[in-house]
Amino acid sequence: MEQFLGWTENPILLVLLSLGQILLVTVVLLLAIAFLLYFDRKVLAGTMLRKGPNVVGPFGLFQSFADFGKFVLKEMIIPAGANKTVFMIAPILATTLSLICWAVVPIAPGWVVSDLNVGVLYLLAMSSLGVYGVIMAGWASNSKYPFLGGLRSAAQMVSYEVSIGFVLVTVILLSGSMNLTTIVESQTGGFWNWYAFKLPTIIVMFPMMVIFFISALAETNRPPFDLPEAESELVAGYQVEYSGTPFLLIYLGEQIAITLMCAMTSVLFLGGWHSPVGDLGLFDENTLAGLLGTGTFESLIGAFWFALKVTFVFFMFAFVRALVPRYRYDQLMRLGWKIFLPTSLVAVLLISGYVVYTSAAAA
């Protein structure tokens, strides 16, 4: 958000400004998640021909806030045999780690808390840390089901990170940068310029998007890969012993990670803040853009498209949950190691060949 920082050199003000930005992103994100959760439940209900939440507020819109209140007010139970420090740190870690990932996500032109050069790697690093929340929660509960859940999730998340990493490499190769803003900018134009649909790499990149999406499901322990919390075998997996606010934090951390994965999919493959039809030249000095200033207006439009794409991907997450039965653990491992890993490796090979070929042809 450099455009807001240009006017001052005062370090204290700068720190306050960054804090303000962080607060803004967090609050907007949490609000968005409240409604995304509602959306999730509505989609699930719709597929099952139910009504879903419809009591609190108009159409049940405030259901998430009611849930929030319930969790906060409930008693927090710490099991006697638990390792108390780790038990309490785990949920905090889960939420914090998924929240700080959002620092590098470019929401609109110039709207990013920290424009890191190695943004993609930062995301990979922070989401790989997410496993600690789960594994610590599972271990500290000092109980069998949570422990099994924690171990399962550790193996699962580490496995799928590998293929996520290789998919990221293909995007990095195509855009030539690890900076997320640059990656989005390299997809300027209509949807035919987005990496998921751009010719001729669509042959490789569209499958890569699918692999990324499925790996994201596994990485965030979403159905059909929610084995760490498989209720038929492990009650609720690593969350069994949690209640009240700590449970809320774990749950919130998961939801933030899911939205992050949606945002990643749209940034890496769906052109981030770009509109699907390209710049139509509708806005000039005379219209609304003139009133707000071109830059701000563009950013607002960009943020709109970004939010729309995130919501679309989130819809896919919700839809998969409603439609696909849960995988068995060996199937999950087979999919990750024997199918996704080789496929994405071949994709890296193909894409790097393509990049070398085109850059040689250009030179």
């Binding site: 840390l129 496993v131 990493g165």
Partner: protein
Amino acid sequence: MEVIAFSILSAIVLIAAFCVIAARNPVHSVLFLILAFFTSSGLLVLIGAEFLAMLLIVVYVGAVAVLFLFVVMMLDVDFVELKQGFLNYAPFGGVVALVFFAEIALVASAMGASRPETFDASPNAETNVEAIGQVMYTDYLLLFQISGIVLLIAMIGAIVLTLRHRPGVRRQSVEEQTGRKRADAVELKDVRPGQGI
């Protein structure tokens, strides 16, 4: 600003590193180790080597330490038993540690002369990533390839030591499972009442 950040980060690294060996619970040790890794990557960010910092987290914290934690949690390590051996070796270990400490102190005292004045984390390039890439695939290509072979050997070794093909064990064949047709499994019979098949 940087000095403050450096002091805080390195203090945390040192304390965490000490706690790794001082903690009674092995799981706590690993968690402190993770903290030490994480904070050291902060130190790398401070000198401008952000690529290395992220790699440290992705590789060590995200993958290696998870497996450490995995193993330590699964093993039921009896620390009382381990501590008993400790006292027997303590005098000898102490002597070795003292000698080593004295050596390092001597080396540190000699360090002043050769310390470079400035440090550039990304020479001849805009970013750290480019700087590393430029030498890794040109000057040091050989080392890069040998590292690949070392990893291959590690993989072969792991397979040699663990993979077993026991005869007589029923295994799943995914091809068979997915290739199964309805006609292979179910047969429709027209059963008349009172007659049986």
